[in-house]
Amino acid sequence: MARYLRRTIAQIAFVIIGIAIINFFLLRLAPGDAAQVMAGEAGSATPEYMAALRKQFGLDQPLYVQFFSYLKNVLTLNLGYSFRQGMPVSDLILQRLPATLLLMGTSIAFAVSIGGMLGLLAARQAGKLADTLISALALLFYATPVFWIGVMLVVVFSVLLDWLPVGGMASVEAGLTGLAYAADVGRHLILPATTLGLFYLAIYTRLMRASMLEVYGQDFVRTARAKGVRPRRIAVRHVLRNALLPIVTTLGVQLGSILGGAILVETVFAWPGLGRLAFEALFQRDLNLLLGILFCSSVVVVLVNLAVDLAYTALDPRIELS
């Protein structure tokens, strides 16, 4: 266990330095800098204005000085300051983090629970009509571009039926608090979470179906069946438990991908999350901010994978961490 933790910490350190290097030099390759972006947005500029901005951002320093101060910051876990936004990067991220976690958490819960259930159903009906229908439906959701589903859900459920709000995270105007506020956020969450969840639904449906079928074929299930255990009990007690392993693994691996997909959903639904913030930081050449977000998302991915490994040991006592 100690060795496992040491390895995990080394892995996090490697990821942090790796991301710092990739991010720093990748963004250096980009034509134009943050001062250029701001002068561009201002609609007009003078050499003095540009020089003042560059000095403010520290862009007038030699490249190696910039890189080392950057690396030093990263290693001391100081995420730095976003000059463009006029705020410390950590503040910006903390502001957006709850929205991101809420959206991702709900989408994943939706995808895993509904997807898992559909997969279960399909596996038990393997080869029958229900199986084909479920598989086809899941595939269809997967094959349809995420943003397209998002826009269509808005048109149907917000504009035509007027059941749900168009976008945003809460009705700011209403000034709600407490439970009413939570309910309001919940209403705003339904469409974006469904949109993001539908895309990943397919994966969990298929995964669940495949691993259920695989476990069904294994000896201990056959034994149970031979002993006359009822099918429902077999499905739940013996098969489901084992079939969950690959789902949990995939979840860990996909976290990064879900954050990427969130950019599209956050765009369509004006959801104030980290994906959108990262996207904008990229175009604004806001180096510190982009690094900070990548850094945080990597740490989350590594930590979740750590949790996945721990969950493994809980789900399958035969697995040991080494």
Binding site: Q11, F14, V15, G18, I19, I22, L26, L27, L29, A30, P31, A126, S135, L139, L140, Y142, A143, T144, P145, V146, F147, W148, V151, V155, F199, Y200, A202, I203, R206, L207, A210, L213, E214, Y216, G217, P246, T249, T250, V253, Q254, G256, S257, L259, G260, G261, I263, L264, T267, G275, A278, F279, L282, F283, L290, L294, S297, S298, V301, V302
Partner: protein, 293 residues
């Protein structure tokens, strides 16, 4: 955004009596997938014959709805460009992006996986750390960054998708190679003094082919989807028609002239569906043990 982690067939594909194609066609879903894919490829191949003119030409009045004018069966977009022509020519570009991006992923992924699995030790450790690093960066965000920095064009979009999609492939190949590495065939070859390269190329990679082919079909699909997502965010190549680019352009008129984005959107759905069905079919055909269940 590679989403499907492909589970490797449990064992190397046993030799079956029938040809692969026949086994494929015997499964209804794979047959459908293959047929659709062949149709799309036929569209791509015949684009220059059926629509000899530049699909970017503004040929007639804008916003002709499908069916409104027989000369333009799928209508025209906001600049009066023929959508049918765009779909045919776009098939080429979209398939090309999918195929080349997948090729890039295959080269990096299979290379990394094979080296890592075959040599093990320190090299394995380093390569796997790098793979993990790439896996922790949200792939779509990474692709976006590359395209934004190198500026959107078909080559940069293709490379960006390829560069961000390989880690799962590397892991898959590594796992396969690890299994084979200690198998009799490889051990025998080492005893006979065959070079490492020869062993990897002749004895190991061919045996990992089944899961890799399945992965590849799905990577192509996911590359086509990713291209459309990039276009939605405004990162497309304006000099060529691609389905993703058409959807991206049509998104502004989605509420008024929805067909402009929907028709190429359906083309994407069809292609992605076909490739996934084919991937499933291949998986089963190359791995009859699972298919039997």
């Amino acid at each position: 955004m590679t989403v499907f982690e492909i589970s490797a067939p449990a064992a190397p594909a046993p030799r079956a009596r029938d040809g692969l194609l026949l086994r494929l066609l015997r499964q209804p879903s794979a047959a459908v997938g293959l047929t659709l894919l062949v149709l799309i490829i036929a569209m791509a191949a015949s684009a220059n014959l059926v629509f000899p003119d530049d699909p970017l030409d503004m040929v007639t009045q804008p916003f002709l709805w499908p069916g409104e004018d027989a000369a333009y069966p799928l209508g025209t977009d906001m600049l009066g460009r023929d959508i049918a022509s765009g779909i045919f020519h776009g098939a080429r570009v979209s398939l090309l992006i999918g195929a080349v991006a997948t090729l890039v992923s295959l080269v990096i992924g299979v290379g990394t996986g094979a080296l890592s699995g075959y040599y093990g030790g320190r090299l394995d450790a380093v390569l796997m750390r790098v793979t993990e690093l790439f896996q922790t960066i949200p792939p779509f965000l990474f692709a976006l960054a590359i395209v934004a920095i190198l500026q959107p064009s078909i080559p940069t979009i293709t490379v960006a998708i390829g560069i961000t999609a390989w880690p799962s492939l590397a892991r898959l190949v590594r796992a396969e190679v690890l299994k084979l590495r200690h198998g009799e065939l490889v051990q025998a070859s080492i005893a006979l003094g065959a070079s490492d390269l020869r062993i990897i190329v002749l004895h190991i990679l061919p045996n990992t082919l089944a899961p890799v082919i399945v992965s590849a079909s799905i990577l192509v699909a996911s590359a086509i989807l990713t291209e459309s997502s990039l276009a939605f965010l405004g990162l497309g190549d304006p000099n060529v028609v691609s389905w993703g680019g058409m959807v991206g352009a049509g998104r502004e008129v989605l509420r008024t002239d929805w067909y402009v984005a929907t028709i190429p959107g359906l083309a994407i759905v069809t292609a992605v569906l076909a490739l996934n069905l084919l991937g499933d079919g291949l998986n089963d055909a190359l791995n009859p043990k699972e298919a039997a269940r």
